[in-house]
């Protein structure tokens, strides 16, 4: 009777420890291949620029990892500085953020023009870690520095006719060379309903990562409304106007069927050209599901009670 004789020596066999981990190793290989596709700078980069004193940090992104400095300051939509994602960072040198004044006007009892260095001392600055969801279906987690817009609204004391607040970006093609071409109807205007403006999550930001805002992020002062698509966050603001009429906002004028006035993050309402149901967090391979109101529904959904959010998108 033939007996079975091993023709493989003990030394040639795969060590048991490795064999037991074979799936893990395969997964590691696959992850390595995927890793090649992931950006090196999604998590990296050392914050630069002048620091801002921060009174406290408010974590509002559920403890999710922050997107790195390089991505936050190198991947931007700021058409006034160029329409490609890397152009704002390259072109921001022409933007002079000092001296800078902000005119607060319209239906307020205390209209005024305030220097930005005074404005940022009106209230203690805090760090707010927010999710940022772009209408283009990518997202980041960003530690902004600023104070609640509501504090400013109460200080300037709107009249009873103030139903909306409009924010206007600087108009100066020499400083914002993207304005030399009429890609959009300059100056950029965004707006909020007054009850949105005084919501505690709405932030007037002067910094990011504890540093003064870089030009490409909307220096020296910008709006951050974390439950809305990123384009609602007007950058490099020179005018805050309180008014009775709903402001004519720039993207809404440009393509009314694509960009609504409210622009609340809503996975149920698709952009005509793409689904809003999922988003790519910068630095991740797989898309993740988009949350209603960008995950802030518990805090803001009541603002829209009784509204048809498909109609008022």
């Amino acid at each position: 009777m033939p007996t079975w004789r091993p023709d493989l020596g003990e030394a040639e066999a795969t060590p048991e420890a490795l064999w037991l981990r074979r799936r893990e190793l395969l997964a590691l290989g696959a992850a390595g291949a995927v890793g090649l596709l992931l950006p090196r700078d999604a998590a990296g980069g050392e914050p630069g620029g002048a620091t801002l004193a921060v009174a406290r940090t408010v974590e509002k992104a559920g403890g999710e990892a922050r997107t790195g400095w390089d991505a936050v300051t190198g991947y931007n939509n700021f058409y006034e500085l160029g329409t490609e994602k890397d152009e704002p960072a390259r072109n921001a040198g022409s933007l002079r953020t000092r001296p800078w004044t902000v005119a607060i006007e319209g239906e307020v009892k205390r209209p005024q023009t305030v220097d930005v260095d005074d404005l940022l001392r009106w209230f203690p600055l805090e760090e707010r870690v927010y999710r940022m969801r772009c209408v283009e279906a990518w997202s980041m987690v960003i530690p902004w520095v600023g104070f609640p817009l509501g504090d400013l609204v109460r200080r300037v004391d709107p009249t009873s006719r103030a139903k909306y607040v409009a924010f206007q970006t600087l108009l100066d093609p020499a400083q914002l060379p993207g304005q030399k071409r009429r890609v959009l109807d300059w100056p950029y205007v965004e707006g909020l309903r007054i009850d949105e403006a005084v919501h505690p999550l709405a932030l007037l930001a002067f910094g990011v990562y504890g540093r003064v805002l870089p030009g490409q992020n909307g220096a020296p002062v910008r709006l951050v409304v974390p439950w809305k698509y990123g384009f609602k966050g007007a950058k490099s603001i020179v005018r805050i106007r309180f008014q009775e009429q709903q402001p004519r906002t720039t993207w809404n004028l440009s393509a009314p069927s694509e960009y609504g006035f409210y622009a609340n993050v809503n996975p149920e309402v698709d952009h005509p050209r793409w689904s809003q149901a999922r988003e790519r967090r910068i630095g991740e391979f797989f898309r993740r599901r988009t949350l209603p109101f960008n995950g802030y529904a518990d805090e803001v959904a009541r603002l829209y009670a009784g509204m048809d959010l498909r109609q008022s998108f």
Binding site: P39, D70, Y79, E136, R181, P272, A277, R278
Partner: protein, 217 residues
């Protein structure tokens, strides 16, 4: 150098150059040169080169007819096949990497997003052109029918440009380069035909006059 060797060199050079965008993508991917959102950048670049090669593949015929250049016609088939290759990579990247085979999204793209529909239709139109690109297929169809079929390249190019126009949010600069190039190439095809058509008309008129002559006499 024999003419045959010259064509070989021309083809090899075209092939090598046409691979450069792809090689650069791979190199940038390995060296981290694709920025914060590399999946999007790869998709955009593949789309850009698809449209570039579609437009380039339309250039040899007018270059021959109007400028008398023969060599571009030698690489027309290769340019067309690269257009199809980049288009296929673009589509595969979108479906397989960007959306990671999320069929509900892909189905909705084709069902209700015209921007996606025209892009997909453009790729579909390129499929029969790629399949019938061989000499065998030219013989099988007959040159006249084969040529007529391959005019679909113009339709594909038009749909591709529309796809790009609808892709950008507001800045139409880049899509308009392609639109201008396509318009130029179309004009280069049509202008000689219209000229020839106009040249025939007086002859028809003359015949008519001649025919009227004897009757009047």
């Amino acid at each position: 150098m024999t003419p045959r060797a010259r064509i070989r060199i021309l083809e090899a050079a075209t092939f090598a150059l046409a691979c450069v965008p792809l090689a650069k993508l791979v190199a940038d991917g390995l060296l981290g040169g694709l920025g914060a959102n590399p999946i999007q950048v790869v998709l955009d670049r593949l789309g850009f080169w698809t449209l570039s090669f579609v437009i380039l593949s339309l250039a040899p015929t007018p270059a021959h007819d109007l400028l008398g250049l023969a060599w571009p016609v030698r690489i027309r088939r290769m340019l067309g096949l690269f257009a199809f290759s980049y288009a296929t990579l673009h589509l595969a990247w979108y479906a397989g990497v960007d959306q990671f085979f999320e069929w509900s999204v892909l189905a909705a793209d084709v069902r209700k997003r015209k921007f996606m529909v025209v892009g997909f239709a453009a790729w579909l139109l390129l499929v029969p052109l790629a399949v019938t690109s061989t000499d065998r297929w030219v013989r099988r169809l007959g040159y006249v029918r084969w040529k007529r079929l391959h005019r679909l390249a113009y339709v594909a190019a038009l749909l591709g440009v529309v796809h790009f126009v609808w892709r950008v949010k507001a800045d139409l600069r880049r899509p308009s380069w392609f639109a201008a190039a396509l318009a130029l190439l179309l004009a280069a095809r049509l202008v000689p035909r219209i000229a020839a058509w106009r040249a025939r008309r007086p002859r028809a008129g003359a015949r008519l006059a001649k025919g009227a002559g004897p009757g009047a006499a």
